[in-house]
């Protein structure tokens, strides 16, 4: 079950200007159910375009997207089904929130699924509680802070009970407190078995959080694998302007000096590495 491919792209091309330049350039990848995937890569490397292909807002000019093994059905009904299952939390909440009332905003998605009003009302209440929106639910959207808007925009998507949630740089422009809140929400999602794809530039977070890391370059996937493996490739990281995670650099240098044993598995976070160091006998 865990290794079932839920979303697959096969040689996908997409162009915003009728084929002169391609935002997606023969992109192929597979996403497995229940995984946490960090999507990295420079601005303009095709991440956001790919995301909008995932839920059928953009239709590839060539190549196919498969959802649950079946090619995406671009009929009205097919798209509705796909979009319920694949939710996108956009980078700028101001581009996503269309209503001045938080309650109205969150109810939009679930009503589009044809859920009866009474049930929808209960769901909105539930999700507002879960996302800790209740304290500011009566405020108009334009009076919310950036972090609060982000919480609402995540609730927007979660209420539709998606199988895949795509977050486009969720931590961009958030303060530490709201970054933690967003990360907690993401952990809850993965706890519930939702597959999460997150665009991020934070290599340290990707190293700690992700099951898989994907690096986009010029509309194709330059690397895809477990973080330990992807971040080991210094050449690629240089080419894509990424840095090695701090924990990896520190770990390598400690091993080189003979302070840590060669056979020690690579810890994912700085905290875990510090614990390893704590265990060493003091000199």
């Amino acid at each position: 079950m865990m290794n079932e491919v839920i979303l697959k792209a096969e040689n996908v091309f997409y162009s915003y200007d009728d084929g002169k330049t391609h935002s997606l350039n023969g992109l192929s990848l597979e996403i497995r159910r229940g995984k946490k995937i960090a999507v990295m890569g420079a601005n303009g490397s095709g991440k956001s375009t790919f995301f909008l292909c995932c839920n059928g807002v953009y239709r590839p000019s060539e190549g196919t997207i498969y959802f649950h093994g079946k090619p995406v059905d671009y009929s009205r009904k097919g798209l509705l089904q796909l979009r319920q299952k694949v939710g996108i939390v956009f980078q700028d909440p101001d581009n996503q929130l269309f209503s001045a009332s938080v309650f109205q905003e969150i109810s939009f998605g679930i009503l589009n699924l044809g859920v009866p009003e009474e049930e929808a009302r209960k769901e909105v209440e539930r999700i507002m509680n879960e996302m800790e929106i209740t304290p500011y639910r009566d405020r108009p959207t334009h009076a919310l802070s950036g972090g609060q808007k982000k919480q609402v925009s995540i609730a927007d998507i979660l209420i539709m009970k998606p199988e895949i949630v795509i977050l486009d740089e969720p931590a961009a422009a958030l303060d530490p407190k709201h970054t933690v809140l967003v990360n907690q929400a993401v952990d809850r999602m993965t706890g519930e078995g939702i597959t999460v794809m997150m665009a991020t530039h934070d290599v340290n977070y990707a190293m700690e959080w992700a099951d898989e890391v994907m690096i986009f370059r010029d509309g194709t996937v330059a690397a895809h694998g477990v973080p330990e493996q992807v971040f080991e490739d210094k050449q690629l990281l240089r080419e894509t302007n990424l840095e090695q995670p701090a924990v990896l650099q520190l770990f390598d240098s400690l091993k080189k000096k003979g302070i840590l044993k060669e056979e020690l598995p690579l810890p994912r976070s700085l905290g875990a590495l510090l614990q390893e160091i704590e265990r060493l006998p003091s000199r």
Binding site: V57, R83, D94, A100, E105, G109, R139, P140
Partner: protein, 255 residues
């Protein structure tokens, strides 16, 4: 307008059923305009003012300041309506300019006064509604009154994006100022021009993004949303009916 928006979210009457508030202010407004009675106007002006300031908790000085906005326009109107320029002087006073007189009669003055009172009373009705009812609630009432869907959806989106685009304009303007974009009159004119065009481009872009985001949430051409209802209270409705009845009675007697 932004101040009214802020006030409406802080008002103590915010959670009173929006239909009640809408019905109350519109019915009063209609009675007021239809009767044009000075007595009625003064009564309505006082009641609406007291309700907004005392019951709604809108600060008095804010309310008075808001009232000065229509006052300027009204004053001009009153002068034009109350005074006339004629060859023959009228009874109240007359200032001569050669063969012509700037003059007023009791009737024209009373007429101007009547218009003034009615207009101020009407404004106070609308202020009562807009200072105590958030825009989204007013839209919900319009929806229940079967206003065309397209109109309501448009108003909903426009209302939201007024704030988004204002923020945007504010940011552009600050970034222009920090690069001396308003160093002299010519430059500031030019800066304003670029601000407007940049804002337009961004608005178009944003509308594209918004459409993508809405499509991602299964938008199919109908903007379906749930409204939070605050049920109407019998006592309040009864009081509104009594008040409107009283106004109607006064209007009929004065006639």
């Amino acid at each position: 307008m932004l101040i009214i928006d802020k006030l409406s979210y802080q008002s103590k009457l915010r959670y009173v059923n929006a239909g009640e508030k809408f019905g109350f202010s519109v019915a009063t407004l209609i009675l007021c305009v239809a009767s044009r009675s000075v007595l009625l106007g003064i009564l309505v002006f006082a009641v609406m003012g007291i309700l907004t300031v005392w019951k709604g908790g809108i600060p008095l000085w804010r309310y008075l300041k808001l009232m000065t906005i229509p006052l300027t326009f009204l004053m001009l109107n009153v002068v034009i309506l109350g005074l006339s320029i004629r060859r023959t002087p009228l009874e109240v006073f007359a200032i001569s300019f050669g063969n012509w007189y700037l003059t007023a009669s009791k009737e024209t003055l009373y007429y101007a006064f009547q218009i003034f009172v009615t207009a101020m009373a009407s404004v106070s009705c609308l202020y009562f509604l807009s200072c105590n009812t958030p825009m989204t609630d007013i839209l919900n009432v319009l929806k229940k009154l079967r206003c065309p869907k397209l109109l309501i959806e448009l108003m909903m989106l426009i209302y939201r994006f007024i704030f988004v685009l204002l923020d945007c304009a504010h940011e552009i303007s600050i970034s222009q100022k920090s690069r001396l974009g308003n160093i002299d009159y010519r430059t500031s004119l030019k800066s304003f021009g670029t601000l407007v065009s940049a804002l337009f481009v961004r608005a178009v872009k944003r509308s594209g993004f918004l459409y993508d985001a809405m499509e991602s949430r299964c938008y199919d051409g109908d903007l379906r949303v749930l409204c939070e209802d605050h049920p109407p209270k019998k006592k309040e409705i009864l009081m509104i009916l009594c008040f409107e009845g009283l106004l109607l009675a006064i209007a009929v007697i004065v006639r």
